[in-house]
C-alpha cells in the first residue's frame, strides 16, 4: 500500500516538474502542490532529508511538497529563483545557514537573504566533528592547536569545497583557535572525495558528519565534536572548549519569500511541528541517522543575525591576515 502511494507520488512529482503547477488561489491554503527549491544537487544530505519529510508531509498538509533541484553557482541559482518567486506560500526553499548568512560576506549576491526570506523553521541540523587518523600523534584538539602554532603550514586539512558545508565551519573554528593562517586547506569535490583524501593520508585531518565517522569505526580518532553533548565518549564539544557553540552545526532550514501571508506561514509551521510527532517520519529520520530537533521560525529568526555577525567577524579576521 505504502509502496503504491509512493509510486503515485513519484510519478506525480515527475509530471508536476514537467508540467508546472496550475494556479488558483481561492480555496483554503494549500490547495495545490507546494514547490520546495533545493539550491543543492541530488544525493546530498539536504536532498535525503527533503525526500524523507516530503514523503510524509502530504498526510499532514493535504498537499504534496515537490522537491525541485536547482543546483549551481554555490547555491545562487536556486536561491535567486526562490527570491524572485511569488510570496504566496507555494514556493519555499530548503537551504542552510552558510548560504543564508555567510555567503553574503564573501560574494556579491543578486539578492539579500535577510530581506528576501523569512524562516519557516529549521528541520534539523547536520553536525560535524574533527577527526585525525587513529595512529596520529595528535591525541587531543589542544595538541593539534599547539602543533599547528609551532609548525605553520605543516598540517593539511581536507574539506568539501570552498565556502561549502565543511570549509566554512572549519575556518570559523580555526579562526577562534588562532590557527586559521597556519593550516593548509586542501579542497576536494564534495564530502566523499575529502574523506578519500583523508583516508589516503593526503590530509592530516578533516571535518565529517558524525554518521560518516561512525561508519569508519576504530580507524579514526575524534578530537572535537559539534552538539551540546558529544556523540563520542571522552571527546569534548566545541562548547566545552569555549568555542562558539554553533560551529559545526549546519542547520537545514526551510525559508519562504518574505511577503508570505501570515496565516499561510503559520499553517506551514503548524504542519512542521505536527510532523515531529508523525510515526513514519520519526522512524525514517532515525533510520537516516538524523535527529528530531525542529526549531520553529520565530526562534530561528533570532539566530540568523547572530550567525551573520559571527561569520562577518571571521571573514574580516581572515582578510586582515592576508
Amino acid at each position: 500500500m505504502r509502496l503504491h502511494n509512493l509510486m503515485k507520488l513519484a510519478i506525480g512529482a515527475v509530471l508536476a516538474v514537467g508540467l508546472g503547477g496550475i494556479t488558483d488561489a481561492r480555496a483554503e491554503y494549500p490547495e495545490k502542490p507546494i514547490t520546495l527549491i533545493l539550491p543543492l544537487g541530488a544525493g546530498g544530505s539536504h536532498d535525503r532529508n527533503a525526500r524523507v519529510f516530503t514523503s510524509v508531509i502530504p498526510d499532514i498538509l493535504g498537499q504534496p511538497i515537490i522537491v525541485k533541484l536547482m543546483p549551481g553557482a554555490s547555491g545562487q541559482t536556486g536561491t535567486s529563483a526562490a527570491a524572485k518567486a511569488k510570496a504566496d506560500g507555494y514556493t519555499l526553499i530548503f537551504s542552510h545557514n552558510y548560504f543564508d548568512q555567510l555567503q553574503k560576506h564573501v560574494k556579491k549576491l543578486p539578492y539579500d537573504t535577510d530581506k528576501a526570506f523569512v524562516a519557516v523553521g529549521s528541520l534539523n541540523s547536520g553536525e560535524f566533528s574533527v577527526i585525525v587518523h587513529a595512529d596520529s600523534q595528535l591525541k587531543t584538539w589542544q595538541d593539534l592547536v599547539k602543533f599547528a602554532k609551532a609548525n605553520p603550514g605543516k598540517l593539511k586539512f581536507a574539506h568539501s569545497g570552498n565556502w561549502g558545508a565543511t570549509h566554512s565551519p572549519a575556518l570559523q573554528l580555526f579562526t577562534e583557535a588562532g590557527i586559521a593562517d597556519k593550516i593548509v586547506m586542501v579542497p576536494y569535490k564534495g564530502g566523499g572525495p575529502s574523506m578519500r583524501g583523508f583516508l589516503a593520508r593526503e590530509a592530516d585531518f578533516t571535518f565529517q558528519f558524525i554518521s560518516t565517522i561512525k561508519a569508519q569505526g576504530p580507524k579514526v580518532r575524534v578530537l572535537i565534536s559539534a552538539g551540546t553533548k558529544s556523540e563520542f565518549k571522552g571527546t569534548p564539544t566545541f562548547k566545552d572548549l569555549g568555542y562558539t557553540a554553533d560551529i559545526g552545526k549546519m542547520y537545514r532550514i526551510i525559508l519562504a519569500p518574505r511577503g508570505i501571508p501570515a496565516d499561510r506561514l503559520a499553517k506551514l509551521q503548524g504542519a512542521l511541528i505536527k510532523l515531529q510527532g508523525h510515526k513514519t517520519y520519526k522512524r525514517l529520520i532515525k533510520a537516516i541517522g538524523e535527529k528530531l530537533e525542529y526549531i520553529n521560525g520565530p526562534e530561528y529568526e533570532k539566530i540568523r543575525p547572530m550567525q551573520s555577525a559571527a561569520y562577518k567577524k571571521m571573514i574580516d579576521g581572515l582578510k586582515m591576515k592576508k
Partner: protein, 505 residues
C-alpha cells in the same frame, strides 16, 4: 571473504524475496532506460525521486531496484544520442560522435544493439572484477589521488591532441577552445571569477547538458532542415527489421569493448571522476588504437562500443569505495548511501565486517541484473528504433521541442536555454566550416577535472611540486615519464597509417 560470498547467495535466493527482487530490478532497469532516454532527465534525478521507495521495503528489494535504475539509465542515455544526436545523459555524449551517423545510414538498429551489448559486456565484466577484487580495488582507490588523476587526464589530452584525425590544426584549435570554455566561471581552488563578465549564471561554469545538447543536436536539426527531408534518411531503406548487428561485427568490436571496460573499471575505482570522463577516455583510446582512425566520427561501430562499454564499466567499481571505505564514488552512489542508511546499514569498513553476506548479496544481484538488462534492452530496441521511421517533417520539430524541454527540466533555469541556443549556433557554424566539435567537447569535459586535480596537487605539494611528485607520488611520476613515450608511439603509428591510407582520402 569467501564465506560471506556464499552467504550472499543464500540471502539473495531466499525463496520469500527472490522473485520480488528480480521483478523490482527489472522494473528499475526499464524505468532507468526510459528516464535516461529522455533528454534533460538525468539518471541522478530519477534515482533521487525514486529513493523514498527504498525506505519502505527490504534493502534486498530496494537497493537492487535502485541499481537497476542506475544501470538502465546509463544505457538509456545512448538511445537519443544514437537516434537524434541528443545525449540523454552526460555519460552518452561520446556516443553522439558515431551514433547519429549510423542512423543516417539506416543502421539505427545496429547502433542500438552494439550500444546495448557493449554496455552489458562492460558492466558485467566490471561487476565480476569488482566482486573478485573488492579488497585490492579499495586499496587502489586510496592510491589514486589528485596528482595521479591530473597526470592521467593530462596524458589523455596529449594523446587526443597528438592523434586527432582530419586537419590537425583544426582539431587542436577546437581542443583549445574546449579547454578555454571549461575555465569560464570561478576557478576551482581560489574561487576567482574568470571570463564570466559578472553574469552570475555562469559563475559556476557553463552547464554541461545544455551546452552539449546545443552543440550536438541543434546543428543536426538545422542541417536537416536545409536539405530536403527525403535526403536525410531514405524512409524506404529503414525497415524496422533491417540492418541488425551480426556476430562478426560484435566480435570485431570485442577488443575495443575490453579495452574500454578496463579503462572504465579503473576510472570507476577513483572516487569522484565518473562515467562521462570514462566514456571519453575509452573513445579516445579506441580511436588511437584503431587501424582506421579516420572512420571515427563518421559512423564507426567501434566508436559506440568504446564509449558505451567504458561508461557502464564504471558502475561496478564505484560501489567499492562506498562499501569498503564509506566513500561514495559519485553523485549516483551518494544516493545509494541514503538507501543503505535508511535501513541502518552504514556503508564503510564496519559494514563489510558485520554484514558481509548482505553486501555480497547486493553485488551478486548486480551481476545478475546484467542478464535482465540484455533481455529488457533487446525487447525494447525495435520499439526505440521505430523513432527513425517517423516522418522527418514530424520528427524534426519534435526533436527541437525535446532539445528545449530537456534543457528546461534539467534545472528549470532560463539561462540554460540561452546556452543551448548559443552553442547550437556555434555547433552549426563549426559544421559549416568543417570543424569537428568532438575535440571541443573533450577539452571541455576533461579540462575541468584536470584543472581541479592540478590545483589540489599544487596545494598538497606545499609549493615543492617536483620533489613532491617524484618522492611521494611514484605512480604520478611513472605516468608523467610514460606520457611522451606513449604519445610518440601513438603519433608514429598514426603517421604510418596516414601514409598507408593517405592516398584514399
Amino acid at each position: 571473504m569467501f564465506e560471506s560470498f556464499l552467504g550472499g547467495f543464500a540471502i539473495l535466493f531466499n525463496p520469500e524475496t527472490v522473485v520480488m527482487t528480480f521483478v523490482l530490478m527489472s522494473t528499475g532497469l526499464f524505468l532507468g532506460m526510459f528516464v535516461g532516454a529522455l533528454p534533460g532527465f538525468t539518471t541522478l534525478m530519477a534515482l533521487a525521486i525514486l529513493l523514498p521507495i527504498s525506505f519502505f521495503i527490504h534493502p534486498l528489494l530496494g537497493i537492487p531496484f535502485l541499481l537497476g535504475v542506475y544501470k538502465g539509465g546509463i544505457y538509456g542515455g545512448s538511445i537519443p544520442a544514437i537516434l537524434v544526436s541528443m545525449p540523454g545523459t552526460g555519460a552518452a555524449v561520446a556516443t553522439t560522435f558515431d551514433g547519429p551517423a549510423l542512423t543516417k545510414k539506416g543502421e539505427a538498429r545496429k547502433a542500438l544493439e552494439i550500444a546495448l551489448f557493449s554496455s552489458v559486456t562492460g558492466d558485467l565484466t566490471s561487476d565480476l572484477i569488482t566482486i573478485a577484487l573488492i579488497g585490492p580495488i579499495a586499496a587502489v582507490a586510496l592510491l589514486l589521488g589528485p596528482p595521479e588523476l591530473a597526470a592521467i587526464l593530462m596524458m589523455a589530452l596529449i594523446v587526443i591532441a597528438g592523434t586527432s584525425s582530419g586537419v590537425f590544426v583544426k582539431g587542436l584549435l577546437m581542443l583549445a577552445v574546449g579547454l578555454f570554455l571549461g575555465m569560464i566561471g570561478q576557478d576551482p581552488i581560489g574561487a576567482l571569477s574568470r571570463f564570466s563578465f559578472g553574469i552570475t549564471e555562469i559563475e559556476a561554469g557553463i552547464p554541461i547538458l545544455p551546452m552539449l545538447i546545443g552543440l550536438f543536436a541543434l546543428p543536426e536539426i538545422f542541417v536537416a532542415i536545409e536539405k530536403k527531408a527525403t535526403e536525410i534518411i531514405d524512409a524506404a531503406s529503414v525497415k524496422i527489421s533491417g540492418a541488425r548487428l551480426s556476430w562478426l561485427e560484435f566480435k570485431g568490436c570485442l577488443r575495443t569493448i575490453f579495452r574500454s571496460t578496463a579503462i572504465g573499471t579503473s576510472i570507476g575505482m577513483i572516487p569522484g571522476v565518473g562515467q562521462v570522463v570514462a566514456a571519453f577516455m575509452g573513445y579516445a583510446a579506441a580511436k588511437s588504437a584503431s587501424k582506421t582512425p579516420e572512420k571515427f566520427g563518421k559512423g564507426e561501430l567501434e566508436g559506440i562500443a568504446a564509449a558505451e562499454a567504458a561508461n557502464n564499466a564504471v558502475n561496478g567499481p564505484t560501489l567499492v569505495p562506498l562499501l569498503t571505505l564509506g566513500i561514495p564514488g559519485d553523485n549516483l552512489t551518494v544516493i545509494l548511501v541514503g538507501a543503505f542508511i535508511a535501513h541502518g546499514l552504514r556503508p564503510g569498513p564496519q559494514l563489510m565486517e558485520e554484514q558481509g553476506p548482505l553486501v555480497f548479496a547486493i553485488l551478486i544481484a548486480m551481476v545478475l541484473a546484467n542478464i535482465l538488462f540484455i533481455f529488457i534492452g533487446y525487447i525494447c530496441i525495435p520499439l526505440f528504433a521505430k523513432v527513425v521511421t517517423i516522418r522527418k517533417s514530424l520528427l524534426l520539430p519534435l526533436t527541437l521541442v525535446f532539445a528545449f524541454a530537456g534543457t528546461w527540466v534539467f534545472r528549470s533555469n532560463p539561462y540554460d536555454l540561452a546556452i543551448l541556443v548559443i552553442f547550437g549556433a556555434l555547433g552549426y557554424m563549426a559544421k559549416k566550416l568543417q570543424f569537428d566539435v568532438t575535440p571541443l567537447a573533450m577539452g571541455f569535459i576533461l579540462g575541468q577535472p584536470l584543472e581541479y586535480a592540478f590545483g589540489q596537487t599544487v596545494i598538497l605539494s606545499s609549493g615543492n611540486l617536483v620533489s613532491y611528485i617524484f618522492l611521494e607520488r611514484p605512480i604520478t611520476a611513472a605516468i608523467i615519464v610514460l606520457t611522451p613515450l606513449i604519445t610518440y608511439l601513438m603519433w608514429r603509428r598514426s603517421m604510418r597509417l596516414r601514409r598507408q591510407f593517405g592516398a584514399e582520402e
